[in-house]
Symmetry: C2
Subunit: 229 residues, 2 copies
Amino acid sequence: MSPSPFPSAASGDPGVPSRRELNKAATRQAITDAAMDLLRTRGPGNFTVEDIADAAGISRRTFFNYFGSTEAALASVTFGFLDTALQQFRLRPAGEPILESARAALVELADPMTVAPVAELYSLGQTNPQLSRSELEAWDHCTEQIIDAARERFALTAAGDVDELYLRALAGSVISCGKAAMDVWFARCGGDLAPESLSVLRQLLIDSMGLLGSGFASHSPATPSPDRH
Amino acid sequence: MSPSPFPSAASGDPGVPSRRELNKAATRQAITDAAMDLLRTRGPGNFTVEDIADAAGISRRTFFNYFGSTEAALASVTFGFLDTALQQFRLRPAGEPILESARAALVELADPMTVAPVAELYSLGQTNPQLSRSELEAWDHCTEQIIDAARERFALTAAGDVDELYLRALAGSVISCGKAAMDVWFARCGGDLAPESLSVLRQLLIDSMGLLGSGFASHSPATPSPDRH
DNA sequence: GAAAATACTTGCCCGGAGTGCAAACATGCA
DNA sequence: TGCATGTTTGCACTCCGGGCAAGTATTTTC
């Protein structure tokens, strides 16, 4: 493992990242890196937890101290991705229309650094049931968090109780539309990370929010969104 | 197992349900029944595949000929439920606004016979990660099928290519709203199957479709839908 | 700075999941 | 009746996931 031999507390991090915390973070990262690497080289389903542990330089048992399964290790990538979106959402002003906040948060995702690992996972997961199952879980988890975030926001501006149906239906729909946009993007661009491809993704995300905001008004959906490139 | 000793081809079924087919269907049913029963009596996670096999009167190995896991066996219940909705959707006239079709299909679900097994699963699944994960899969599978159904429908009325983003975003949102309605219903009524409770569910489903159709227009969601009962 | 308290890693071991295989058994068809 | 085809079952094997206790690293206390 060889954790970096710095004396602790170098950068301007608040909260004193102790040696233990640094080690844990490093191990965690080593695991997901090893897992992603094996995924790339051997393909989904063709390696075991022991393989990951060996590649990460830890024991099989230790792997399970960090993640409950191979999929969980890989899903942490998607989790990070969706948490990014969530943070963006929380940063939006409370007065803003909520769909506009969602649109802004989603568009932030169409960034090379952010989307790259997920694009990889996504394309590999397309062919693999085990994998896509845990992807689903990550999206669902994100939905729950959006519900919480939206509930908090509304609690600020509204007096009485918040309508749970509104919250849950809205959050679920936003996530579904985000997912739809990514699905179409993959079908169209195959996870390509070139600028033109990312701009397609961005536009798809915007379009999907537009559809949602208009109540899917267009009854003749035979007009594909213009592929600018 | 003791399959029923009828000579085959009794009822007015088309397609000649052979003895083999009948046996398989019976075994399948016996498995899900046994699984649901164990779920009720022992709670989620407190029984093994072997337990189910014993209760169903088959070998452990045979269980795996039918389902890949305990969760898959239980999920087949949810699958049946969602397939009902899908059939309803396919029966709607092609000219009808698609959200109206979705609304009609979902409302059909608020029927005691249909919703009972799912209500049970749902409430048990609330506390169980393993279970809710496979529920997610079932909903997702249904989304895919709605996409197909909607694509077919649009292919009839529209000339050119169908907008995949529209399809996927719409189908995903409809399912999300249906899920949201069920979540709220469970939170409110705890899966109660009494007529008043079901009418609440029906209204929630209608309301959620209304929200979707209006683009979640109301920016002050502090107005809970009226609980008529 | 040494010793005690605490956190993390590891090996050992166990029960359960899931699957390939081949023998036994049931059903369908001629 | 007898052969072809499909289904069930036991067996053996790998992998998962986690409890436990001994060993190692880090932090705290004096």
